[in-house]
Amino acid sequence: MTAVQNTMDAARVSELAKVETRRYARHPVFLLGLVLGIVSLYAALNHVTDDYYGPPVIPAFFLGVFGMVVAFRLTRTMERSAEAVESSPTPVHQRVGALLLACLLPAALGLLAGLAILGLGEVKADWAYGTWSTDERVAIILGQSLVAGLGGPLLGVAAARWLRFPGAVVVPVIAVSTWVIMVNGWSATNQDSTGWLVARLFSPLAFFTTLDTDGGTHRVESWRGDPWFYLLWLVLLCALAAIVALLKGAEGETRARLRSSLVVAVVLALAALTLAVTSGPDHTTVRSPAGVTGI
């Protein structure tokens, strides 16, 4: 491929991405999620709390889950003009690539939300952080804000490309929500089980702490797993969603390259998951105003 062609392709994808980003920004579901998310986050950060790890769920839900719906709908609505679109010289992987780039909008908002939580979240005392260090807290919160804001919409695009039946938009929403709630809920009563640890970290949104009450006193349980390797696993899940979305309909050399990328991304993702499971604390610890103890 010539340099001229590469420049032309980049210019075209860039223009399409601008259009898709504007469509994303104007989508009613996105706007609703944005308003609800801002209000909820403001309410959560506007007071001193014991629950430092609660607010990141807000961008994860309002940008990630709502974003799945938005991205799915944006991908699918262009298919109404499929014949005119397909007869254009722009190949399908460039059109999908532009949609994937539009997912940077919720990701950027997720980053802002994460920075707001990191910068503005006030706790009553240091024990509310659990046993996580400052940089580990950054990894936990960015995973639930920035990466959730990116990953949810990317999954929405991938689902729209592959699931061809009416109402398919609910499949990723229900599948992800159910998995996240189930494994995190059950992990709370099986903190040190390696099986539940794998199930929890396999999830696209994993908690690393829980706020508990012991005799009327709050305490924070810090669970097993390495937040930074878990963040890497999440980033690689995002890459997998993007590759899977691009793969549908790709032809020739592009398809071959995407398949190779998929294999590499799967291997790297599994390696990151393995490291997330095997690194970090090997048992749950409890931190309360009285100090740090095992469980």
């Binding site: 075209r12 223009e15 259009v19 609505t77 005119a84 679109v85 007869s87 254009s88 722009t90 020739g252």
Partner: protein
């Protein structure tokens, strides 16, 4: 004159059903009408030429390129304008934004030049004043013209139009004819339609499909000549007429082959010629 489209033995099958079979066709610059009953294979033919559907058999050359080769297919698409039979519109777009989006897909990456082109094609279809309107707020005829506008982007060398005049009022159709006639000065236009008067008004040549095969391919005047002497007025309907109806004067207009002696002959229309051709075509299965 060089051929823009050359089909050799082209066929298309869906399961066991042949939609097109053994099609040999050459299209040259100018407007060619494509007529045929529902299910004759007109839309399938246009989709094959638009490179959105591969043929099951045969050889297709479009603009001297082979659409089965991905690189050549992209080159064909750069020089193609295609109006599908049913073009849906994504939600939330204005008329301008929709055509602008298609223009980006057609490699108009410079925003100023692209916006000028979008304004030009919207003007051609009389939608310049509606460009800021949401597509869902446009009437059926306006949406059809919007769909046509995207096919006009960049003055393509080959335009494939599937029933472009559906839903248009007489003024809009007349205006559209002007646009297509102008486009045909530099392009090859294939116009699939059920409106024989559009073909009569615009086309030099006409292709008639029936059951996936070409049953006529020639000049419009040649098809018209087949109906000479077959249309006449009488006080009574003719029992074996292909079509007959009572006109506003109270007399019956009969289409039959041949006219009885002494009948008052009238000028045949392309519709008469088409109906006569269809009635004489052997049953194709």
């Amino acid at each position: 004159m060089s051929a823009t489209v050359r089909l050799t033995g082209v066929g298309k099958k869906y399961g066991r059903t042949h939609t097109l079979r053994g099609l040999d066709l050459v299209l040259e610059p100018g407007v060619t009408g494509l007529l045929g009953p529902n299910g004759a294979g007109k839309t399938t033919l246009l989709r094959i030429l638009a490179t959105v559907l591969p043929p099951s058999e045969g050889r297709v050359r479009v603009l001297d390129l082979d659409p089965s080769d991905p690189r050549e297919r992209t080159e064909v698409r750069r020089r193609l304008g295609y109006l599908p039979q049913e073009l849906g519109f994504p939600s939330g777009f204005t008329a301008f934004a929709f055509v602008d989006y298609l223009a980006v897909l057609k490699e108009w990456t410079q925003a100023d030049a692209r916006h000028d082109e979008v304004r030009r094609v919207l003007g051609l279809v009389d939608l310049a004043g509606q460009s800021a309107k949401k597509v869902k707020a446009l009437s059926g005829g306006q949406r059809r013209r919007l769909a046509l506008a995207q096919a006009l982007i960049g003055s393509p060398a080959l335009m494939l139009l599937d029933e472009p005049t559906t839903g248009l009022d007489p003024e809009q159709r007349a205006s559209l004819r002007g646009v297509l006639a102008e486009a045909a000065r530099t392009s090859t236009v294939l116009l699939s339609t059920h409106q024989t008067n559009d073909v009569a008004a615009l086309c030099e040549r006409v292709v008639v499909l029936d059951a996936g095969r070409v049953c006529f391919n020639g000049a419009v005047r040649e098809l018209l000549a087949r109906a000479e002497g077959c249309v006449w007025l009488a006080d009574e309907p003719h029992s074996s007429a292909i079509s007959t109806w009572r006109t506003g004067t109270g007399r019956y207009r009969n289409l039959a082959d041949p006219a009885p002696p002494g009948a008052e002959l009238v000028e045949p229309t392309l519709e008469d010629a088409y109906l006569l051709l269809r009635s004489s075509a052997p049953a194709l299965t």
